[in-house]
Symmetry: C2
């Protein structure tokens, strides 16, 4: 069923949770994230829009001690301790052969792969643009579910790709620690641009 | 003030609005979006996390008939009529000189520009990754404020860059129509992957 659109904003509490008071977390309470929550998270993030529904993001939720140990050597020094302490680290990669799945995701248009796969440059641009959209959907879906996030790009991406996506066309791009954050590890809020510094109305 | 994290999810109505029932809109009610709403939207989207707070997205909200006319020739045929009918079209571009603003956005670390500007490839990868995250923040912030969205990549990006960002280092990447959608223009929901098709737990 399509909901009629509504001009009422979400509650202030929801806007705070998603955007205004949400913060990147660096310390974690010792509280596991159940698999049901990870599945609910995936079910929300996958609904966000991508170009021709191409959905290039692939996610490995690193939970076990063994998998964390495989991840550890590829983390930058500043991201190591906090990532090892996080209950879950989501490795988000982008499938560089995403266009092969369009028969499943965009079934009414058999020509859809040709919109993307005419050059390696185009494949990569679409995988990274749409994959990054999906990273942001994951972050905001996690916050929607009451989880805290610690997204990171400080890691050896080829190393993580080899450790977790070998034999596939998926390339790791972003890590997101997930769990219940300890507010004592949150750094002071950094400045943002004023409206005029990054927006215009034409 | 830092809010303590909470394990309670947002309400089902909020999850529906953001993810589950939200849809890409193609037809628009004749109802303007006030400038106060566009400013509230910018204030929410800018809070989303980016690498070292680099915030590369720049937005032109195209509202006037004159600015819409400048946009029109660069739209793909399938996106033309709906974009001309939308109350607002946000042009999101990424500033390829974003690292020059880190003294303002990441002031405690004078070395921060060097994390990004060591090569054109690195600049571009970071601008596009983080800029696309901000596109998704814009989409979900708009939905949070009760607006409907119609994001698109079907347009001549160099043409839009020239028409709206000439003389800057900003490159247009995504358009997002904004307004109050007419549900009659919404297409059937496309399939999504099952958990096992795009996720794993390790």
């Amino acid at each position: 069923m399509i909901e009629p659109s509504s001009s009422r904003p979400l509650s202030d509490a929801a806007l705070d949770r998603l955007f205004r008071e949400a913060r990147t977390h660096n310390a974690w309470r010792d509280e596991p994230v159940p698999e049901t929550t990870l599945r609910a998270l995936a079910d929300l993030m996958k609904m966000g829009p991508t170009s021709a529904n191409c959905c290039p993001a692939r996610v490995v939720f690193v939970v076990s001690r063994q998998a964390k140990a495989r991840l550890e050597p590829h983390l930058s020094a500043g991201n190591r301790a906090k990532t090892m302490a996080a209950p879950v680290t989501a490795i988000v990669g982008y499938d560089m052969r995403f266009y092969e799945k369009l028969d499943r995701l965009f079934p009414h248009e058999p020509e859809a792969p040709s919109w993307f796969n005419s050059s390696q440059e185009k494949i990569r641009a679409n995988a990274t643009r749409n994959g990054a959209l999906q990273v942001a959907y994951l972050i905001l879906a996690a916050r929607s579910l009451g989880l805290d996030c610690g997204p990171m790009t400080g890691f050896d991406a080829p190393g993580v790709t080899k450790a977790f996506f070998e034999g596939t066309a998926v390339e790791a791009d972003v890590l997101v620690n997930l769990g219940h954050g300890d507010p004592s590890g949150v750094k002071p809020r950094l400045p943002r641009f004023s409206f005029e510094e990054f927006c215009a109305i034409a």
